[in-house]
Symmetry: C2
Subunit: 157 residues, 2 copies
């Protein structure tokens, strides 16, 4: 991982459909060199995928909520995470410090759907309580954070 890799990564975070030729022009390398570097970054698990970002409200997913999951005393976190992953409306799942085992991000169409989803969450074995925070607006989300990407981690004199 050198400065060129970091530049390539930064460029692909901004535009995941950039061609190798474009990336080459951006970083000052031939397309084939970029191609090889990207392949290595993918193999090494640095780049884990490429995704189109969709405006949720345009596809009928207008309601977002953050839900804290408080487990029962006997619950196993891995079992809980597995059960949470089976609900498609749970988009992200974080194991957290504190008396909640997880915070999940839920995306649904309506508040009725949200009520249904919360019911399903509470019925999962090992879930004692849920605490729901309704998102009123998403100001920004998943923004590229190029701390340590544009510039070397130990960035100097």
């Amino acid at each position: 991982m050198d400065a060129l890799d970091r530049k390539i990564i930064a460029a692909l975070r901004l535009n995941g459909r950039a061609t190798y030729a474009e990336l080459g022009r951006t970083v000052g390398l031939s397309a084939s060199s970029v191609h090889e570097r990207v392949g290595k970054l993918e193999s090494a698990g640095v780049i884990t995928g490429y995704h189109a970002v969709v405006n949720p409200s345009t596809v009928g997913l207008g309601v977002t909520a953050l839900v804290g999951i408080q487990p029962t005393d006997v619950a196993e976190n891995d079992d809980l995470a597995e059960a949470l992953s089976e609900l498609p409306e749970v988009e992200s799942c974080y194991a957290v410090a504190g008396d909640e085992a997880f915070v999940v991000k839920v995306r649904v169409g309506t508040v009725d759907d949200l009520e249904r989803t919360l019911g399903r969450l509470r019925r999962i074995g090992g879930v004692a309580r849920t605490r729901t925070t309704v998102v009123l607006s998403t100001r920004f989300e998943g923004r590229p954070n190029n701390n340590g990407l544009d510039e070397p981690p130990e960035g100097g004199a």
Copy 2:
């Protein structure tokens, strides 16, 4: 937005670098038709971008936290959101219901960095208190939620 558009979107959420030819084979359309449909979906603001997903720990961003931002009585939400957007380590920002104005997701390299970032957050004008939840592990994140994408919104017999 018909079933074909929904299939194209779902495919691009799974693989944002899929070629038009591939997408055409997936959905049963010619590459040029897919090309035109994708262009319209982009123009209509349904697809807002394409991003490479990077494993944060491989690029020196091993610490994630969720931070609730409690505002002072006089704070303006838009000013707060603007100030939050200026910290690169704030990756996502949600305006929420409740006594916190925002919940933000912060990604940094170390707990020392987290402490510094929390200090910066508290020093933002209009911020009364922060409440930090440290993420121990990300079980999954930004998973494609194809509610209403694979199948029509009103889908029932």
